[in-house]
């Protein structure tokens, strides 16, 4: 091999390494943005009170008030406060597993549920409600920049992230996220089934100061499988809580 060929080979390998590392760095930046989006949506650990409403064309309209506690890398505990029929019903989500306890069921036992099932008949899944962090479950990469319309903000320039599941515990086959370019505020998310079907869309609006930061307070999840079926979650109260004890997020505590 002559010197020119050797130099060409070295340059080719160098370019390849640079290309891979650049792509990796970009992917890493995308992952950082996904984690940043998580922290814009919620603090690391928090207490929250929300009102969830669901409309489906063939079903009774539902509205419920819930209180939830979330501790990062530990779990989520949710209690229904209203309507009276469901009051006291509690949910515990941990690492992709979900339990429900209904004190009016005459049983002291918690029932295990599938995280991918609908949460209380809503368009949200159990996982959407119980696991509000995406960076843990999805590997992010950049998509193309787009301009979308937001009800409160008008036309907004956005960058997009594509999230591919890191493992089998991820609830969706793929997610796509629209972040406002100026501050990475999340405005929209599309959810794909494992089959590749786009079946749910989340729109975030009503930005206000919550737990010391500007955050969306109204979440609307539309079903793309059933016309005019949607659920909304309105955050009424959100406070960062860094002192939540682990014992709150145990099966033992769920039934107490």
């Amino acid at each position: 091999m002559n010197t020119r060929a050797r130099i060409t080979g070295i340059l080719a390998v160098g370019l390849l390494i640079w290309g891979v590392s650049a792509a990796s760095a970009q992917s890493g930046d995308a992952q950082t943005l996904l984690a940043e989006m998580d922290s814009i949506l919620y603090p690391d650990s928090f207490h929250m009170k929300v009102v969830m409403a669901t409309h489906r064309p063939d079903r009774r309209d539902m509205q419920m008030t819930m209180e939830s506690y979330y501790k990062q890398d530990v779990g989520t505990l949710i209690e229904i406060l209203d309507p009276p029929r469901s009051r006291g019903t509690k949910f515990l989500q941990k690492e992709g597993s979900l339990w429900m306890y209904n004190p009016k069921s005459n049983s002291s036992r918690a029932i295990r549920l599938s995280p991918r099932d609908s949460f209380q008949g809503s368009v949200f899944s159990n996982n959407d409600i119980g696991d509000p962090k995406y960076a843990n479950d999805y590997r992010a990469s950049f998509g193309s920049d787009q301009t979308i319309q937001n009800k409160d903000l008008g036309n907004v320039e956005c960058r997009t992230l594509i999230g591919e599941p890191k493992g089998p515990t991820a609830a969706y086959g793929k997610i796509k996220v629209w972040l406002r370019k100026s501050d990475n505020m999340p405005l929209r998310m599309d959810y794909y089934a494992k089959s590749g079907l786009l079946f749910k869309r989340l729109i975030l609006t009503s930005f206000k100061q919550l737990a010391g930061e500007q955050r969306p307070s109204m979440w609307r999840m539309d079903s793309l499988e059933q016309k005019d079926a949607y659920s909304t979650v309105e955050i009424q109260q959100l406070e960062a809580r860094n002192n939540l004890p682990d014992r709150m997020f145990t099966e033992a505590n769920l039934t107490r």
Partner: protein, 405 residues
């Protein structure tokens, strides 16, 4: 003081107990950080059909008021679950299923004192590992044990509960107090998507039951299993003549118990369906020969040993295999229908329950329930208290309305 299931003679004690509970619940909120109460009021009418016993074909009615209280303090909370039933004659029964003080000694340790339950096992219809909590005649009532417990939570995925039950020690005249104490340890480890829960319950001469529970989720299907071995098998006989429950002497032979099943939910735009299938096997209890002797001469078994309360070994025939299936359908949020069947696989006896609940109105349910029983023989063994259950052709129809508050 015993507050549960107060008959007429105990009305005074019941009233005092209820008043004490009421005062505690009314006064404690003054110093509590937070107080919440919720519950329901149900009025029901039930028609009972008993074949070949026309006098027992009766219509009964009752009102049931149940409430759940929680007082939250800086260092703990007080929790109470209780209900009051009033029948058509005005007789009432007040039952406290739980009333305990829960103190947070540290972020990892909490101590509970009073009548309480520990979330135990994974079986739905039958919990083989659980001989800590007392059994009741009404399978719909999950009664707590009287005593204390310590819950240690070194991490969110691992908990250990230590419990001391006084159920068999309180009010005992024939046993030493310390021989009536029941000790239990229950640990729960969550790893991946699997919960593993070993446990042991021990009471001298009454029960020694090590066990293990598992549950996991695979492909949107929940799978659970629970197994135990009872080494003392102190059988408990049903109450035939108003006398205390009769117990046999304990023996150190192994009696295995098992429950396993799957649970699956699915649905479409209108209907949500939940299926629960479970098999269980209970080898603790009394033998068929002992059961025949009991039916023939209830007094003849009295000499075998006596005691009240608790759940030492098993109540019912030895070596019972059961299968149960429950189907729950929610129709567009307006109506919930449920069908359940429980069959004794050995004698073919069983029970079926159908119900439909209208949930269209906010805060009010209207429910119709039908129950009927089948079996090959007149004294078909079924459930925990056989004489209270199966007679072929026996059936009930119940209509009820429930207001939630």
């Amino acid at each position: 003081m015993t507050l549960n299931h107060c008959p007429h003679k105990k009305k005074l004690r019941c009233a005092i107990g209820a008043a004490a509970l009421f005062l505690l619940l009314v006064s404690a909120p003054l110093s509590a950080q937070d107080y919440s109460v919720y519950g329901e009021i149900t009025g029901s009418s039930t028609y009972h059909r008993v074949p070949d016993a026309a006098a027992q074909n009766v219509l009964t009615g009752e009102v049931k008021i149940s409430a759940n209280h929680r007082l939250t303090f800086q260092a703990g909370d007080f929790v109470a679950h209780h209900f009051l039933t009033i029948d058509q004659d005005g007789d009432y029964t007040h039952t406290v299923t739980e009333a305990y003080l829960n103190l947070f000694a540290s972020p990892e340790v909490s101590i509970s004192l009073g009548r309480q339950r520990i979330n135990w096992g994974t079986g739905y219809t039958f919990a083989p590992t659980d001989s800590l909590h007392p059994e009741t005649a009404d399978p719909e009532v999950d009664m707590g044990f009287d005593g204390s417990s310590v819950l240690y939570t070194p991490g969110s995925n691992f908990t250990v509960s230590l419990a001391l039950s006084l159920d068999d020690a309180l009010g005992q005249v024939s046993r030493e107090f310390y021989n009536g104490l029941k000790y239990a340890v229950y640990a729960s480890l969550f790893a991946g998507s699997t919960t593993i829960a070993p446990s042991i319950v021990y009471e001298p001469d009454r029960t020694f039951r090590p066990g293990l529970s598992l549950s996991t989720e695979i492909l949107n299907t929940v799978i659970f299993a629970e197994a135990a071995c009872e080494f003392l098998n102190q059988a408990v006989y049903p109450n035939l003549s108003g006398s205390p429950l009769t117990r046999t002497a304990a023996s150190w032979d192994p009696y295995p118990l098992l429950a396993a099943g799957v649970e699956k939910s699915f649905g479409n735009d209108i209907i949500d369906v939940n299926l629960l299938t479970e098999y269980y096997y209970n080898s603790a209890g009394y033998s068929g020969a002992e059961a025949d002797a009991l039916y023939a001469d209830p007094a003849g078994l009295a000499g075998a040993g006596a005691g009240t309360g608790g759940n030492g070994g098993g109540a019912g025939l030895l070596r019972r295999h059961y299968a149960s299936e429950t189907v729950t359908v929610d129709l567009a949020g307006y109506v919930t229908a449920e069908g359940a069947v429980l069959v004794n696989l050995q004698d073919g006896s069983g029970a079926v329950e159908h119900s439909a609940t209208v949930t269209a109105l906010r805060g009010i349910d209207f429910k119709a329930t039908g129950r009927w029983y089948f079996g090959k023989k007149g004294e078909s063994e079924f459930g925990t208290f056989p004489l209270a259950a199966v007679l072929p052709g026996r059936a009930t129809v119940e209509l009820s309305a429930t207001v939630h508050f």
